[in-house]
């Protein structure tokens, strides 16, 4: 029994090692949060994986910016009964996570974990799950979400994913790949690999499909691809631009940019019957539409006022209202799921294009980054973090930061330029 489990874990760790050689985003924390809560996630009993559960969970919690996981452990209990509270309290570690891994029938693995409070001297919660070895990382992220929610009251985003475009070279030729990785940059999977550019990935609200713009035919066209079976549909290849697809919150429509009528305008496409409705009517550039969470309005970028700014478009009345007034460029807007914040690419003076957020209630604007050319801000599903494209030296990389900009980390790619991130719903 143990031998079989060992063989499984060895096979699993070989699989993991093999996938590590394929380009993966790695993590560098740039700015730590000084108020991060100490927590100890003790190695789980009988966990001999190359990537032990406690390491994955510790890294998840560290990446949220709210926790400071311990790196060493005075003892290694595997269940709450074995925890000597005084030892942990003495180290200033209030929260302690313990657990163990045991093989189960049919080559499955049972994982048990418990969260204890050394200051309250009691067990707070515990769960058990039985999984196939292939869902090892998913299980760890699930546990991270549960611990995060229990302690902070907020939903974790550790099981979410990020889609992005990777530009890389193969035998001297530039190629483009649309990839989806876990929110920690691991386990990237290719959605589309092409010799021509790919842009603007957009998730369906149920997380099952991605819309994107691809130049594979020689002109930009919009496709929708189902992630489970990689099947895809050509959605729009009109004359001129086909760009900036954005799924409605109810999943039934796409907002998109077409210039078939002579200049770029925002259209609505009903996916069931392909009915196309034009929403804007102005000779200026109108593009980069995104939905408000209630599905009744869009925000979009337009230079109708003389410089690119962000506007609100009411879908029923077609009324347009300007939202941004600070700066010479505001574009690529995105609204958090609670409707509270508008993230955007903002340029005030000089050359820098930075990520800023505007409070939708007060109108107050905060610039969050100070790197010269940042783009594509995308909220995490719990609305607490933003992923965005930035540069580290000459290399395009992704950054993740808290909404006040105080906690930042980077996910550098090892073999190319990474950009256009879109956080899953």
């Amino acid at each position: 029994m143990m031998l079989r489990l060992l063989k499984h874990l060895i096979a699993l760790s070989m699989l993991i090692t093999a996938s590590l050689s394929h380009a993966e985003l790695t993590i560098d924390i740039l700015k730590a949060n000084n108020n991060a809560m100490p927590i100890a996630v003790v190695p789980f009993g009988s966990d001999t994986a190359t990537e032990p559960l406690n390491r994955i969970i510790s890294d998840d919690l560290a990446r949220s910016g709210l926790f400071k996981p311990a790196q060493s452990f005075p003892e290694q209990p595997t269940n709450s009964a074995e925890v000597v509270f005084g030892v942990w309290q003495g180290l200033g570690l209030d929260f302690v996570v313990v657990g163990k891994v045991t093989p189960d029938a049919n080559n499955m693995i049972t994982i048990q974990y418990e969260l204890v409070s050394s200051s309250q001297q009691k067990r707070i919660m515990g769960e058990s799950m039985t999984i196939p070895p292939t869902r090892w990382r998913e299980a760890a992220h699930f546990i991270s979400d549960r611990i995060f929610k229990q302690i902070t009251g907020m939903d974790g985003a550790f099981s979410s994913r990020v889609a992005y475009v990777l530009q890389y070279k193969r035998e001297g030729n530039t190629r483009y790949r649309l990839e989806i990785a876990d929110a920690d940059g691991r386990q990237p999977n290719s959605v589309l690999d092409s010799s021509e550019p790919i842009l603007s990935p957009s998730w369906s609200p149920d997380g099952q499909k991605i819309a994107y713009v691809s130049f594979e035919s020689g002109k930009p066209a919009i496709y929708i691809q189902t992630l489970s079976n990689q099947q895809r549909q050509l959605i729009a290849s009109f004359k001129g631009l086909n760009g900036a697809p954005a799924w409605s919150p109810d999943g039934h429509k796409l907002a998109l940019t077409l210039s078939q009528d002579g200049n770029p305008e925002i259209y609505l496409l009903e996916l069931a019957n392909k009915k196309l409705t034009r929403l804007t009517n102005h000779y200026a550039i109108d593009t980069e539409a995104r939905w408000f969470p209630d599905g009744r309005a869009l925000l979009f970028t337009s230079d109708r006022g003389g410089s690119p700014q962000i506007y609100r478009l009411d879908i029923d009345t077609l009324e347009v209202k300007r939202l941004t007034f600070d700066g010479s460029f505001n574009g690529r807007g995105s609204i958090s799921a609670d409707g509270r914040y508008l993230a955007m690419v903002h340029r005030r003076s000089g050359q820098n294009f930075q990520i800023a957020i505007q409070d939708m209630q007060t109108g107050g604007l905060s610039t969050l980054t100070d790197t010269p050319l940042d783009e594509s801000p995308s909220f995490s599903p719990n609305g607490q973090m933003l992923v965005y494209a930035t540069r580290q030296g000459k290399q395009g990389v992704l950054g993740i930061m808290s909404l006040d900009g105080r906690f930042k980390l980077q996910l550098p790619a090892s073999d190319g330029q990474v950009r256009e991130p879109a956080w899953s719903p």
Partner: protein, 223 residues
């Protein structure tokens, strides 16, 4: 501390299976590689001191401007043909400087396949008018010739906005060619936004180079 049994036992396998959290194992998408590439006439950067070569003759201007070193070395129009040298072996040089009578030949203008723009602008400059007039004339005289006009933007600003800006630039060139004799069916446009910079640099000079429309003959290219 009394031994507590685990009070909750979830069958998370079910939860994970039902959660629509798909693992993306399996086949990568097989997409046929698009083979279209924008062809740009290369600009020759080698220095060439052979007095008979096209490039040197162009600079010395013996009474006119050479056809720049095209493969078959045809002397083209232009009022005072200078002495055509043998070709520089790797193709076209930059526009030859003016020869003695100061006129730039049609061939040289047709050899220019790039026009450039100011930041956030799609306005054409006077130098561009000269170039484009030559192309328009050529196209109107050669009805089977066709061009693809590819608009580009520099790296600043957001991607989709730059797609629109690139299109504006391509459209500006298209409109000019059309109103100067080229037929609509000879003109095709595409925008690459900031996706295909010709220069990877992050400074003013690189940005200026990237703000461009590239003219590519898809049929009936001038010799």
């Amino acid at each position: 501390m009394s031994h507590k049994n685990l009070s909750i036992a979830l069958c998370v396998a079910v939860a994970l299976a039902a959660s629509g959290c798909t693992t993306l194992k399996g086949k990568k998408t097989a997409v046929e590689e698009a083979t279209t590439t924008t062809q740009v006439t290369p600009t020759d950067t080698t220095t060439n001191t052979d007095p008979n070569s096209a490039e040197t003759n162009g600079l010395n201007g013996k009474g006119g401007v050479n056809a720049s070193g095209l493969a078959d070395n045809t002397a083209t129009t232009g009022s005072n043909n200078g002495q055509n040298g043998t070709n520089a072996s790797n193709g076209t040089g930059k526009n030859g400087q003016n020869g003695g009578n100061g006129e730039v030949s049609m061939a040289d203008l047709l050899n220019v396949r790039l026009v450039h723009f100011d930041y956030d602008s799609s306005d054409l400059s006077n130098a561009d008018y000269q170039t484009l007039q030559a192309h328009a004339q050529y196209l109107s005289q050669n009805p089977t010739a066709k061009v693809l006009l590819a608009g580009h933007a520099d790296e600043r600003g957001t991607r989709e906005y730059n797609m629109a800006l690139g299109e504006r630039r391509a459209n500006a060139v298209q409109a000019f060619l059309n109103s100067n004799g080229a037929k609509s069916n000879q003109l095709d446009t595409v925008s690459y936004g900031k996706e295909k910079p010709s220069n990877d640099g992050h400074d003013e000079a690189s940005w200026a180079e990237n703000r461009r429309v590239e003219i590519t003959y898809k049929a009936g290219s001038p010799k």
